[in-house]
Amino acid sequence: MAAALRCRELTVQGTTPGIETGAGFGPLTRHAPALTIAVLVGPILFGFLGTLLPAFGYLPGLGGMTFTLSHFADLTDVPGIWRSVGLSLVTGLVTTLISLLLLMLFVGGHLGGRLFGLMRRLLAPLLAVPHAATAFGLAFLIAPSGEIVRLVSPWLTGWSRPPDLFIIHDSMGLSMIAGLVVKEIPFLFLVTLAALPQVPHADSMRLGRSLGYGRVASFTYLVWPSLYRQIRLAVLAVLAYATSVVDVALILGPQLPATLPVRLIEWMNDPDLSMRYLASAGAVLQLLTTLAAIMIWLGLERLGGVLVAAFRDRGRRLARDGAARSLGLGGVALAALTIVAGILILAVWSVAGLWQFPDALPSSLTGRSWMRAVPRLVEPLTVTLAVATLSAGLAVLLTLLCLERENETRNSGGTRALMLLYLPLIVPQISFLFGMQYCAILGGLDGSLSGMVIAHLVFVLPYVFLSLSDPWRSYDRRYETIAAGLGMGRMRTVFRIRLPMLSRAILTAFAVGFAVSIGQYLPTVMIGAGRLTTITSEAVALSAGGNRRVIGVYAFLQTILPFLAFAIATALPGLLFRNRRGLRV
């Protein structure tokens, strides 16, 4: 007992001395984790409640005071509803499966090789490209009058007019799957890169290959199981996203019938307000659809595990894996190429003058599309920048306070905290954004900047946290020990030593948050209530019109903004700390 008391004397209240004193951050950091959880979970909880109640007929604003199942009955009577559900389910699962398999073959086949490093440099910036811009770029490439057909016409195909083919908006959702795969591969690749250092991959690969196993086999048997465990939540996020995506589905997806989320948005925007009951019931169905996709995926995980084990237990060397390696490389390279080519073609269309089929390039260039767009661009651009800056800034601030709190308590919250972070990425947006809109209306926040910032923050915060936590946690704490030994208080140490040293990571996290906010479509249209629009919501709205020059302007702009943020994040520390070799990466 006496020893325990003494222990307290030595370590001041059982925590790190020098922190729970007047010099520390006190209540600011103490309440940060709770505040962050509230920001993440609060909107989801209230939003889901606001979706669930109208689905069962309770919506006082529209006179719905009694609980009923009739809206679900109506839902099952909607023509083609099960086909829409099936489309969402299948496109989600196929997208995730293709992305993950290609990535696995590529990483397994080229880990540590020269091409791996090349792809790493190429793919990382592509993560910043918003989904909608990627989808537009793909559409401009593969449409019947798109660039690919133009390049091979008429000399190869004999076509002097666009062929009568349903390439985009195909009823099987193939072009939509392609658009999603292209965008999810860079995401999964970056998540994998972040997880790799925690897995002893180099030794395992060397060991496997010295036993005669091929690269892909060594990777799959020895590295993949522990690697997959690390990236699993991100894979589920991809799956949930692909089953419930709206913007990409509007641009590339099937139309008669459309995927479930697209139809929900139509109902939600129907002038007949009573359709909102149906939309809410549909949003609950969407949640169940995504849940079903996750269940099926968990089954596929089992199946994959059994398959891998079967091959491994038979000692299959699979030494001649050239074809598999090429497939992985080809898939990943094609994804990168598609995004880059798509951005280029968007840029060309935005400045195209006369451009007749089947010319591969416009016969003249003009700034007219831009000149005409500018007056209408100013407002959405201002809103876009304001919301992105504010939500990313708030996310960085909350993250820093949480991480500093973690520093004080040496408790990171573990797996539970990680699950919480992924919650907004795994629960389909649409299933709680309907309700969030009601809450926003009740609170007078719909169509307001603050409402939009709050809505974006829910999705920005997880990415900012995930981006910043690794560099923060791997910071060499001895610098702070030294600083304290020099008599520097906690505040001074954080502001003079830790934050400047981590400035690159902090700015990068900000840019990540900024890019995520720019790309948000659904939260923007739901909370913006038509009064506040962003470049992204305007671009997607233009997709129905099919004016490629105007779409080119909006989608290109949408791509440029996150790139600018990343460029600034990279250049600023270099400028502030030029001549500081130790801070270079």
Binding site: A23, I482, L486, G487
Partner: protein
Amino acid sequence: MDRATGLRLENISISLEGRELIAVDATIAPGEVLTVMGPSGSGKSTLIACVAGFLDPVFEASGRILSGDTELTSLPAEARHAGILFQDPLLFPHLSVLDNIAIAVPQRISGRNERRDIARAALERVDLAGFGDRDPDTLSGGQKARVALQRVTVSEPRLLLLDEPFSKLDSALRGQVREMVFDHARAARLPVILVTHDGADAEAANGRIIAVGSL
């Protein structure tokens, strides 16, 4: 450095999950070195963390640490004025060489120019005049060690904690830096705790030696 006081470690005991790692009861006079020797993993560095005020809460510690009449155990880390040198010089990479030292000058000296003058004088003392504007990462290993020592010095520490500070230096440099640090501690009349696994360090320290863990 007129406040030379000794350091008293009174019945210090550090344990992990009930297993005692270190037990020390010692008085270190100004200018004297207490050497703690042991293999890596023996927990000898926890003594330094304990004195500095950075002991991880997973460890249990008891006892009292006194610097003269001041009890350090009840003070937060930044009020203990326990200067530390690690095996890496750990110069702050975002600050110039001069600012690395200037940031350590006690806060009661608040004038920017005054602080920089102190730092400049400190650089001159170790033949690094004119290095102030340099990027710390461009210095040689020996130069970095000298800057690190001056950084601790200008902070006017009560005592000096050395956590294997010479182990990463090559053998030619090691003797030189060791001599510099010990000479400095003696001149400044600082009590020193040295943690090392190198017998030559312990010999050069020329003080009491405590062995930790089974060798």
